[in-house]
Amino acid sequence: MTDTLTPVLTSNWGDERAWTLPAYAQQGGYDALDFALGLAPEDVQTMVKDSGLRGRGGAGFPTGVKWGFLPPADPENPKPRYLVVNADESEPGTCKDIPLMMASPHTLVEGVIISSYAIRAERAFIYVRGEVLHVIRRLQAAVREAYAAGHLGKNIHGSGYDLELVVHAGAGAYICGEETALLDSLEGRRGQPRLRPPFPAVAGLYASPTVINNAESIASVPAIVKNGADWFAGMGTEKSAGVGIFSLSGHVKKPGQYEAPLGITLRKLIELAGGVREGHELKFWTPGGSSTPLFTQEHLDVTLDFEGVQAAGSMLGTRALQIFDDSVCVVRAVLRWTEFYKHESCGKCTPCREGTWWLVQVLERLEKGDGKPEDLDLLLDQCDNILGRSFCALGDGATSPITSSIQYFRDEYLAHLEQGGCPFDPKKSTAWAESVVEPVETTREEASPND
């Protein structure tokens, strides 16, 4: 039986100057690279495939299988291959890649080198969101150190393998976490998703074969190579192998990063986090960021693996567990997420561009108590006209909090109409609110920051 928590990626985060090459090397850093370079690239690919590692960016596609989609090298038309790391972590609630890259950027860099070798890429990019200055500093320094130590550049470790790696800072656009929008952005364009096919494996960056993987996925590769595919596959569940970082935020006593085998439950995680805030009860939560349908108390024992969460009607996503207690108005929460999707819609597809705008209009009047009961059906109809009708998943994600909140909290929406306003006091949900249970009765007038 595997332990409840299994720090692998997080294991060195507390080390003295963990971000530096000497600290990373001292705990065996870049040994896995040495080992991988002694294997044929195909064997490294097989190892990752056999480990059962599935994409940690939300979709959960098997990483090794994704690598296998690259077309075989064509001597007639030799196109370069690229590895692009998606470190554009922006999904509301998701906060695992940023601390990983801040504390141990070399874990990611080593993962990039091994993965690039496995897919025979000679150029790789880390696309990191621009709004995280210190993380970018740490990545830049790690890449510089890796070049100086011969882990990057020409003839790595005397193997004859060459790799160039560039750290590329984005400029503020949630949509660039979508892999084809990321590619357009990396090509110096507006970050708008591309129609697929062709898939990036065939025609990605500069229309060349490209693999795009989430930062945590790539950072998991050195440990897999070092410890073996069976070691990784032996943790987690049969179809959701290995460990992952679970990020708890919101109304728990000890929010933070908990690295555990896939398949743990929120009940267990909340217990580890010291419980929900004193004097309150869990009301709703996101299993994997705001784009994954909300869960409630009744889902505390859902196993947090890809299959378990899906069977219960949501998605594991990025294991971004945002915990909201009974002080929080679900309509306010959903409205704010919807404003986010409206702001971040890239504008390419009409259902998403126009639809998210209309969703905000309707939710705003519901939250203010100005709406009508029919507005709930109108919202569901609007969601129905957005879901599945755009190039990418942004519009789909925008509908998740709305449809799930109406499913579980229809009465709370109606209470806004009955009371002519929001029945919750936002002061009671803040981090500095006194933890006392009082009947909520105040009506508030809250100025939206989006005015």
Binding site: T4, L5, T6, S11, W13, G14, D15, R17, A18, W19, D31, D34, E89, C95, I98, P99, M102, R123, G130, E131, L133, H134, I136, R137, A141, R144, V166, V167, H168, A171, G172, A173, Y174, G188, Y206, K226, G228, W231, M235, S249, P255, G256, Y258, E259, L272, S290, Q322, R332, A333, R336, W337, F340, C346, P426, T430, A431, W432, A447, P449, N450
Partner: protein, 248 residues
């Protein structure tokens, strides 16, 4: 006024990092902001010249991304996260407090040019909510009082250090780092904040760990028999502790 020759050199240097020069456009625009304090028409022209694009093509890109500003930004950029989780945890109150204190609206700059205030989207630090960013450095677990003190310190020019990051320089200097030019501050600040370490510390406390690998690049049983023995002992002890704990 056109940009200095050395800025043109740096723009070309950025473009040269990529197999296709246009890939450099995002970092090039960050560099323009660090030099000009915003994306100016001259900066757009310079990027267009270096990349062989039209100014309209460069503008089309610059207007897509929220970090690029068409109006002058203050010495410091203060971003308050008001996405759902931070908003609920107090981000709305912090933003309202700063708006009143600084007498500015969203994405506006104080009269003295010291601070541009903006409400921002999720910045990937939800376990530290509510979060405030100064020049894209993390200020964790903020309150209206701490945020108010923070902007006072920034306006007075007092030294301010990020919760997980370096001494605060300026928005322009931060933009230069985003363009790919290091500023030597990488070794300031911790590896991780307390919240990032809660799971790790709990695991250590209870003796929990990922299993010792069966096989792979290094065969532990051959190289370090003592370590394995020790790990096994520790594991057994920790299992006992865990069993006891779960009996409670």
């Amino acid at each position: 006024m056109t940009l200095a020759a050395e800025t043109f050199d740096e723009l070309r240097e950025i473009a040269a990092r990529y197999p296709q020069a246009r890939s450099g456009l995002l970092p090039m625009l960050h560099l323009v902001q660090s030099v000009e304090g915003r994306v100016t028409p001259e900066g757009i022209q310079a990027c267009a010249d270096v990349l062989g694009l039209t100014p309209a093509e460069v503008s089309g890109v610059a207007t897509f991304y929220t970090m690029y500003k068409r109006h002058p930004v203050g010495t410091h950029h203060v971003g308050v996260c008001t996405n759902t989780l931070c908003a609920v945890m107090g981000g709305d109150e912090i933003f309202a407090c700063l708006r009143e204190k600084l007498e500015v609206g969203n994405d506006e700059t104080t009269a003295d040019g010291a601070i541009t205030l903006e409400h921002i989207e999720c910045n990937a630090a939800c376990d530290y909510a509510p979060v405030v960013m100064v020049n894209w450095e993390f200020f964790d677990n903020q309150t209206p009082e701490s945020a108010s003190q923070l902007v006072d310190d920034l306006r007075e020019g007092r030294e301010v250090v990020a919760s997980r990051g370096a001494r605060i320089t300026s928005w322009r200097e931060a933009e230069r780092v985003l363009a790919g030019f290091e500023d030597g501050l990488v070794d300031e600040g911790p590896a991780a904040g307390p919240e990032s370490l809660v799971g790790l510390e709990l695991a250590r406390e209870r003796g929990w760990a990922a299993p010792v690998h069966a096989h792979g690049s290094a065969d532990v049983t051959e190289e370090m028999p003592e370590a394995v023995e020790e790990a096994d002992t520790r594991r057994a002890e920790s299992e006992t502790i865990a069993e006891e704990a779960s009996d409670d």
